[in-house]
Amino acid sequence: MYEYARMKFYCDENRCIECNACTIACAEAHELPVGINRRKVITLNEGIEGKEFSTSIACMHCTDAPCSQVCPVECFYIREDGIVLHDKDKCIGCGYCLYACPFGAPQFPKDGAFGIRGKMDKCTLCAGGPLPTNSIEEFELYGQNRIAEGKVPMCAAVCSTNALIVGDADSVAEIIRARNAAKGKGTSSPYGWDIAYK
């Protein structure tokens, strides 16, 4: 049987410099409405020597994704390569996925007269959605489908310091190992992975 890759995100806090290229490239590539941040860069302890660091956060495409577990319409589906996608035609914008998500990934456009939450929008790992691959409808609802074109997701493709890595779990782990080993610091699990991946 063919072994599918298990796609994972990893942001190296030693390398992330809060340049926001990932955020901007993501917004531009998928033509997101202003205010929808599929990916955000967050800096902690700004200005404090020895403590300041930045990291880029989006949907981590978790194992047994909590969002898909709590969704009352079961609009989520998980691809064999681990990418967590959802069907906006089913989505009711209830926000349960946001409450279940450890990473604050789901985004909701303010929609309609009451400013009620619209359909959820989140990182697709540039893998589109349930509509026909690379169709205009898919692009309008979910953005580019770069995975189908054999391309790296936009954010990782533009990362100026290669802090943000995406790909098969084993390859990502290999890169992290190599980076850490060179420093003689040994291997360590990246931030958030214990929650995202089991």
Partner: protein
């Protein structure tokens, strides 16, 4: 940059003065991070603000602005005291280091602590880490240059590197980070008022060399000037052109400035915006040739005679640009110019046609070299290839001879065949370095990735220091010592720059009479290429091999000396380290130094002003403030303020504050709490414009073209002060007063 960004990966220690590559060069910063990862390199950041770069540093020194020279003397003090210097290197390759050693003796760590605010302990830690981990590279940018003593700063840093023997080494060097993609190219082509392209001076000889190469009559050129003396006189500088209009300080010019043509410069990126505004109002004519609305059109209250010519962006034109490391890159056109916009060159051609010198302007592109003379070889030209050829033909000083369009295109189209760390190519580009970093002496030379490196042969990019200032000074030899022989060179040790007269003697060759006839007077004007050819054959660079000058007898300060900024928070030190006396006719305008510094501003204006960049904007932000996504990240002009300082003024996070400059200008901005600035200073990003001293100027924009974000320009409150040599404004040191709005 003497080296290149990838070469930083070879460094064991990296020290950064007044630069914030994590924000200003995010992609380049990767190499610094990789050096940290792969080499365990120590990253040291010296900055008046805890920047994003500092966040990644192993050692960070929070320095008071404008005190880099004492800091570096403090380092040198410790270096010489502990014997961390490189005596062999100094002896063979440096001139006048004794003067520096004498000065360094005065700068004890305690004294440095008093002046710079960096503790003696930290100074020792930094110096030891940097001096004992070699090779070490030194990076700087505007934080070092934009001072009244900026030119001294930029000499001090190389002196530090020379003392440690870090120059001309892989992983070493002085790496000055240039801002935009073609800033180095603009400098090389001299978009400045004091030299001709390629750093050729304004002497008659230079003009005649160019007249010959452009195929125009020298007298014709001369007659274009009001008087021939202006041909050899520096023009106004970008920093103080407005005095040419306002004449508040005495000017020395054939006429006051009456018209302004702006092409590729954010007007709000220079200091004294209030004066700039007044000057714009007083001009007879303003023409702006830019893709976006330049703030000059917005700042001015002029209702008439302001023209905006829509100009193509870089994606709509083609040609070579020069990167920060002296590499050329070919840039291909992505789309044809949109709507009615025209490319820069087309606008200039039309201008020349209108003013009747189009033929003279383009003739150089139709010329080639025959028997050492520039002659017209064809009747038409192809843009931009023929312009590149013209540049390659003329510019010898920095060695652009090898930059043919064919080679540059080949490099651009085969990016994947070059190594990131060495820049070395493979396949058809084997042996060549990416982008042929200058000097690229001949059409087969591979380029020089690391300047002044005598450990590799000249035909692989090696060279000594240029013998630019003669062979001796007051009886002391200026040429490199015997131990400084370039690898594989037939000439041992130092040698003078090559001329028609000395080439036979230096190289020990005999020229034929034909060769003698066609050879230029010296290597800088030798169109025949024979000097370069014979030099390379002998394994030497045509420009000589001399000592680097730590002692410069032509400068106001022979060795760099500390002088307090004009507006200093330490008035006591201004008495001890006074600035220069006022300078007459500095780029055609009188410029004040001591007459400003003698007044104590520190009581009334107690807060230091730091300005700098944000990652999402560049320059004056003219382009980026039109992007809805970028604007979202930083939609408003603000001032970074330490909560401790804010408390004193009863300012809360998000409050509006007024910032007043000693010149009487003021701006109204939002306060943003952060610990990245110390409580004695504030930080302002300089990318905003469109609001002037509290007044919204959005109605001055052409209809529908107001950017998503407008705000006060930081340069409205940056203080008066200009470098003694280059006249760069002192925007990186100054004082302000704040109050809650």
């Amino acid at each position: 940059m003497t080296n290149h960004l990838g070469d930083i990966q070879n460094s064991k220690a990296i020290i950064i003065f007044g630069a914030n590559p994590a924000v200003n060069h995010p992609v380049g910063f990767k190499h610094i991070l990789k050096a940290k990862e792969r080499n365990n390199a120590i990253l040291i950041v010296i900055d008046p603000r805890f920047t994003k770069t500092a966040a990644k540093a192993d050692l960070y020194a929070n320095i008071r602005q404008g005190t880099d020279i004492p800091f570096m003397y403090g380092m040198l003090h410790l270096i010489f005291k502990h014997g961390w210097h490189d005596p062999e290197f100094i002896k063979n390759r440096v001139f006048g280091m004794d003067h520096v050693i004498e000065e360094a003796k005065k700068w004890t760590p305690e004294k440095v602590e008093d002046v710079t605010g960096v503790s003696a302990d930290l100074l020792y830690k930094i110096t030891k880490a940097y001096a004992t981990n070699k090779p070490g590279t030194l990076l700087w940018a505007m934080g070092l240059t934009q001072h009244t003593i900026g030119s001294s700063n930029t000499r001090m840093a190389p002196i530090l590197q020379l003392a440690l023997g870090n120059m001309g080494k892989f992983g070493g060097g002085c790496n000055i980070l240039r801002g935009h993609d073609n800033v180095q190219g603009a400098t090389d082509m001299c978009c400045l008022s004091h030299t001709l392209p390629g750093y050729y001076g304004l002497s008659e000889g230079s003009w005649k060399y160019f007249a010959h190469n452009w195929g125009v009559d020298f007298n014709w050129l001369q007659n274009r000037f009001a008087d021939k003396k202006w041909m050899h006189t520096k023009g106004f500088s970008l920093a103080k052109w407005w005095q040419g209009v306002l004449q508040e300080e005495k000017i020395y010019s054939s006429s006051p400035i009456r018209a302004l043509w702006i092409q590729g410069n954010g007007i709000t990126s220079i200091a004294q915006q209030v004066k700039v505004q007044q000057a714009l109002d007083k001009l007879d004519l303003i023409v702006i040739a830019e893709p976006f609305v330049n703030e000059a059109a917005v700042l001015t209250n002029k209702k008439d005679n302001v023209y905006i010519l829509p100009t193509a962006s870089q994606f709509e034109c083609e040609g070579s640009v020069t990167a920060t490391n002296r590499s050329a890159q070919w840039r291909s056109k992505v789309v044809d110019p949109l709507y009615e916009s025209k490319t820069d060159e087309e606008i200039l051609f039309l201008f020349a046609k209108q003013f009747g010198f189009y033929d003279e302007l383009v003739r150089g592109m139709m010329m080639g070299v025959k028997d050492g003379k520039a002659v017209k070889v064809k009747n038409s030209f192809k843009w931009p290839e023929d312009a590149t050829r013209e540049i390659a033909r003329i510019i010898k000083t920095i060695g652009l001879t090898g930059w043919t369009p064919e080679r540059l295109k080949k490099h651009q189209q085969n990016w994947h065949m070059f190594d990131e760390v060495t820049l070395k190519g493979i396949g058809p580009m084997k042996g060549e370095y990416y982008g042929l970093p200058w000097p690229c002496w001949t059409e087969t030379h591979p380029g020089s990735p690391v300047l002044y490196n005598i450990d590799i042969p000249v035909n692989e990019g090696g060279m000594g220091f240029r013998a630019r200032f003669g062979v001796e000074y007051k009886g002391e030899n200026l040429l490199a010592g015997d131990r400084a022989t370039i690898k594989n060179a037939k000439v041992k040790g130092g040698y003078p720059e090559l001329t028609k007269d000395n080439i036979e003697k230096v190289l020990g060759i005999k020229l034929s009479s034909k060769e003698k006839e066609i050879m230029g007077k010296n290597w800088k004007v030798d169109l025949s290429g024979l000097i370069a050819k014979y030099a390379l054959k002998a394994g030497i660079a045509p420009y000589g091999n001399a000592k680097a000058r730590a002692y410069v007898w032509t400068f106001p300060d022979k060795i760099p000396l500390h002088r307090e900024p004009l507006h200093t928070p330490r008035f006591d030190l201004a008495k001890k380290y006074p600035t220069y006396s006022d300078k007459k006719n500095h780029y055609r305008v009188d410029t004040k130094y001591i007459s400003i510094q003698q007044k104590d501003y520190s009581k009334e204006f107690p807060i230091m002003l730091v300005t700098g960049r944000l990652v999402m904007y560049s320059g004056a932000g003219v382009i980026e403030r039109n992007s809805k996504y970028l604007v979202q990240l930083s939609p408003e002009m603000y001032a970074d303020i330490n909560p401790e300082l804010a408390y004193k003024y009863n300012i809360k996070d998000g409050d509006m504050i007024w910032i007043h400059s000693p010149e009487g200008a003021k701006i109204k901005v939002k306060a943003r709490f952060t610990y990245s600035v110390a409580p004695d200073r504030i930080f302002l990003p300089f990318h905003f414009a469109g609001v002037m001293q509290g007044k919204d100027l959005s109605e001055n924009y052409p209809e529908g073209l107001v950017p998503y974000a407008i705000g006060e320009s930081a340069n409205t409150v940056t203080n008066y002060g200009y470098d003694i040599v280059t006249q760069i404004p002192e925007t990186k040191a100054g004082l302000v007063r704040i109050e809650k709005a």
